[in-house]
Amino acid sequence: MIRIPFIFFLLLILYPVGFPPAVAIAGGVNSATASIALSGNPQESEPHLQENTDLSTTVGFPLRLLQTKIVGSRLIAKPYTDRKVPVMVRIIETFPHGSDFRYDIEFRGFEPGRFNIIDHLKRNDDSELVSDPLWVNVEPILAAEKVRPIPLPQTESKFRSYYVPILFVSGIIWMAGLLAILFYGRGTLKKASVITKVTTPAEKMRPLVDAAIAGKLTAAQQAELERILSEFWSAKLNLGHLPADQLRTTLREHPEATQMLEQLDFWLHRPAGEAAQPVDVNALLKPYQDQSKTTASE
C-alpha cells in the first residue's frame, strides 16, 4: 500500500527532468515546451520554424523542439567545452527526411537572453552550416533586480577542524589492535600447542595407571584408561587415520595389543569371577607405567 504513493511521488520528482518527449508534450513541462509541442502533431512544428517566430522558455527549464526539419546534411550538437556558454543544446534523436533530416532538440538556457540554437549545432561532416536562425528567448523568473540567486552561507563544520587528529588517533588504535591480534593471538596459539603437546596418550595415562595399580580407579577412570590405552596403541602403530571401529579390529589382530585388550575385557567388561585366574592389573599395566615415565622424561 505504501508503494503507490511512493511511486507517484517519484514520478513527480522525475517528471520534469528526463521523460520521453511524448510524455512531456502531453503534460506540458512549462510554457516554453507547450508553445512548440502543444500542436501535438510533429508536422505542425515545422511552420513555427519557417515563420521564424521566437520561441521562449525560462532559465533552467528545458525546451524541446520535436521533429524540427533542418535542410542539409546531418547535424550534431557542438561539444560543450566552454563552461561559460550560457546555453546547452542536445539533439535527442535524428530522423531521416528525404535527403534532409528532422531532429528532436532540447534547449536549456542558464541565463536570460536571446539565443540562436543554430549557433550551437554543426554539421557531422564538418561542412559549413548555413541556416535560418532559430531564436529562443530565455526569460528570467526572478525579479529584475535579482540577477543571481542569493549565495548560500558557507559555515565551516566544527568537526572539520578535528578531522585530521581523529584520523591520526584512529590509525594508532587500529595499528595497536592489529599488533595485539598478531602477537597476543600467536602467544595464545603457542600456549595451546604446549598444552596439546603435554596431553599425549602416554602422559595422560600415567596418573591413571598409577591409580589403577594402587586399586583406586573409579569406573569412569577405568573407562578413560581403556580409551587412552587404545589411543596409545594407535599412536604406537601409526593407526591414527583409522575410524574407531577399524582401530579396535586392527588392534585385535595385533599380537601384543590383542593380549592387552583381552586382559582389559576380563578386568573391565566380563562378569566378575569368570576368568580362570584374576587379572593381574599390576602386570597388565606395568609396561605402560614405564612407558609413560619414559615419555615424560623425554
Binding site: T199, P201, K204, A219, A220, Q222, A223, E224, E226, R227, I228, S230, E231, S234, G240, L242, P243, A244, D245, Q246, L247, R248, T249, R252, D265, L268, H269, R270, P271
Partner: protein
Amino acid sequence: MTGQDAAKPVDLARDIAEEPNQEIKEVIEFIDKIRTRVATVVVGQDIVVERLLIALFTGGHLLLQGVPGLAKTLLVSVLSKTIDLEFARVQFTIDLLPSDILGSEVLDQKTNEFRVHKGPVFTNLLLADEINRAAPKVQGALLEAMQERKVTIGGENFSLPAPFLVIATQNPVEQAGTFELPEAQLDRFMMLHRLVYPTPEEEKEILRRNAQLGIRVEGKGAVAETEFDILSNEPAGSGENLVAAMQAVQQVYVSEAFIEHIVEIVNRTRNHPLLELGCSPRAGISLIKASRARALIRGRHYVVPDDLYALAEDVILHRIRLNYEALADGHTGASVLQGILREFD
C-alpha cells in the same frame, strides 16, 4: 555402514574361543540358520543382516538409507520368511493417508454397522519403503504407532502384534518432493544404517546367480523368475526361537566401564563445539541395547567397546546435527563423530 563394515564381510567365527553355554549356543545356532538362509538369496550385505537381527532382537526400529536396487525389500522379505513372521510392505507416496497404513472403519452394508478394517501396520515386519516421500501427517501416524505399539481406530485401541518391527527406507539422492524426517522422528529409529554398493566380487556373484534364474509358467504364459521366487517357504526358526534370542539379549552383561564409555560419548556430542544438537538419552539406551544384541550375535555374553564403536555411527549419526560453523568449514557428521570417538581426554 562403517568403514570397517564396508571393507570386509562379517566373520561368522565368534569373537571368543571358549565354548558358550547351552542357552547361548542354541541362540547362535538359530542366528547361523538365519544368516545361512539369507545368504542363499542375498549376496553379501552381512552387516545389514546383522543390523536387522539387532533390531529384531531388541525391538528397535531400523531406517535403511540407500539407493534403489540394494536388495532392501528382498532382505526383509527373506528374513520374515526365515523366522515365520508376517510381512507387509507399504510404498510411501505423497498422497498416502494415515488410514492407508493404520486402517479405518468401513460400513458393512450387510449388517449396516461399521467394522474395523486393519491396515498393513498390523504385521510383524513392516517395510516402509521410501518413508520420506509421504506427508508428515502419515510419517507421524506411523512413528506414533512405532513408539506406542498400538493404534487407535474409530475410538478403539488395538495393540500391534509382537514382535513389531518397522524397517523404513529412504533414498539419499532424490530429495525433490520429499519430506525430510525431523530429528525428533529420526530419534525413534534405533539405528539408521547406510547401505553401500556390493563389492566387485559380490556383484559378480549376484550376476551369476541372476543368470541362472529361469522362467515360471503361469497358466498359458510364463514370467521371468526373480530372487523372490527362490525363497524357501520353510522357516528356519520359530517365534519361540525369536523369544529365546530376545531373552538372551537381555541377559548379556553390561559392565560399569561400558556404561561410562557410553555416557562419555553421549555427553561429548552434547558439548561439542561443532554440534548444534547432541544425542538424546534414547541414544544411550539404544547403544546399550544394540551392543548387547551385537555381542550375542558375535557369541559373547558380555559387551565390549568394540560393539560400541561398530554401532556408534548407525546409532548416533542420525541423532546429531552440525552447526553452521561446522558446515561452513566442510565438516561432516561422520568426521565429527569419529573425532568424538577417538578423543581420549
